[in-house]
Homo-oligomer: 333 residues x 2
Amino acid sequence: MATMKQVAERAGVSISTVSHVINNTRVVSDDVRRRVLGIIDEMRYIPSAVARSLKNDKTHTIGVLVPNSSNPYFAELIRWIEDAAFELGYNIILCNAHGGAQKQTAYLRLLMEKRIDGLVLVASGADDEQDLLVRHEAVPIVQLERALPGLDADLILAGQEEGGHAAARHLIELGHRDIACVAGPADLPRTRERVGGFLRAMTEAGLTVPPVRIVHEEFTSAGGHAAFTRLLADPHPPTAVFVTSDLMALGGLCAAGVAGVRVPAQLSVVGYDDIAGAGYALPPLTTVAPPKRAMASLAIARLIERIRSGCVPLRSMALPSTLVVRASTAPLQ
Amino acid sequence: MATMKQVAERAGVSISTVSHVINNTRVVSDDVRRRVLGIIDEMRYIPSAVARSLKNDKTHTIGVLVPNSSNPYFAELIRWIEDAAFELGYNIILCNAHGGAQKQTAYLRLLMEKRIDGLVLVASGADDEQDLLVRHEAVPIVQLERALPGLDADLILAGQEEGGHAAARHLIELGHRDIACVAGPADLPRTRERVGGFLRAMTEAGLTVPPVRIVHEEFTSAGGHAAFTRLLADPHPPTAVFVTSDLMALGGLCAAGVAGVRVPAQLSVVGYDDIAGAGYALPPLTTVAPPKRAMASLAIARLIERIRSGCVPLRSMALPSTLVVRASTAPLQ
DNA sequence: CTGTTAGCGCGTTCAC
DNA sequence: GTGAACGCGCTAACAG
């Protein structure tokens, strides 16, 4: 690959002149400029961002660490993050934390070695993440949805508790009284907060939720399927279910269909996340929609702001989620 | 951030000694080694991959360019690519081509500037990609699923034509005769090949497919929904449909459900891609499953092989897709 | 066993 | 309007 030096020689000028025509950083005679540009084109010269980074101490690269990038929710988030970053001239290094604390540690180390300018962190919040980042290096970090304790980072929240609350309110307003909750693993903060909002709404409505009506399962369609199967085996099944994730809700819808339970006639279901598949489920799923795109672009904006201007005070911001009513919920018969 | 030089000074040794204890690249007395290691830990020194890259002309970073990373199929592929790459010590820069030739050109340029070691290219094959890469720079490239004409790159195919053929065979063996095909845009090679396999199987079975039974739509659930709606409005609707993508099939299933058409009793449906959601559709979708994980790891293996050993001859390899029979297909009543 | 030194490709001061 | 030279952080060849 051609270097600036070679271009300079071939054009009969000095290296610094070449540099200056490339970066438009000082006046160069039209004559010389044209010649240099010609040679650059001819030699297929492409400046080295590596060398540039070494000099400027900036890589224009940001790390994105998520639990699992193939989960539709994270995949959609990533897509918007990538989009926003690209607009501002930054590239994304994609990292899956899924695979345990060990992989995560290794990844963080690699990212630091690569001298990323910043990090977008979507923490699952599982316990094994607790200690890792506390001793983090001096890189700007923006956290999405979940604050790791002891980590100095900007924070962007999506009102998980309010989301759970809104979902429950919707069901209650439809006349439902016996409402179950299908949740992800109890040790995930996301789960806890969503369930918390749900319970608050129930309590406010004077409804009690017996423990058997809250079932925890794996954070997947399979988990949702299992949870619904269990729930619907009850001689007196609930008339509505709040599911803390669309992935699980989709599995649940499948289980209900197989069991011959008609949604929403016999059972109302509301999910959470508004993944693309939710709108084309059978029936189309009523769900709580976090503002994924807004969160992504805000995250990137904040991060780059911090990268550029150093020590602005830490900020945390909460964006509202909205309830998207589709066809999986109906008034109690 | 601490530098090697600072560590050396603090430890009272030379820079090269520090370098050698870090890289285990020559014998260092236990005494000195321990001391240096201590200082490194104390100063939180982290070697700079940027400087290293400049020296070695290797970034251990590979670009992954896909049409749209939030599409579940690509998201799953990416997840495995990331996984395989990480195992071998490489990071992934994620790029969405979606957004036109302009963004694509810009991305390619950026990747070249960043001096990626290699590129995994999942081309949509749309026409606007044709010209871009022909003048590509000397970076190893592995293409997935689709060969761009005139591009020197290894190739990993997934038997699209055979997949379409297998899907059609399955339907035919179930006794169906009037089989429609819902396809993505006609200008995408992926679509063309899958439809090609379908038509071959039909022809082999002595069946003809009138043009109205082949409907092209956008490559999304919405597109599938629209296509099914149109198809089912026919006074004599087909008894089975081959859909060239699961995303579209899911939309189709939704349309069928809304229209009161029972799957598979009245209509058999087979999809393509085996995305995660397919297994929990209503009913669970019979589909053609490309070996995503195998393709991903093979792609990375091939790419890194080429990165390491330079000019091995170009290879192209086809991996077989398999038909996953679930509950959306049944014998003709 | 350890230190000195010359680049890697580029941006930037300083001098002309 | 242009060029020479230094340094970013690191590796490797060469001395000692």
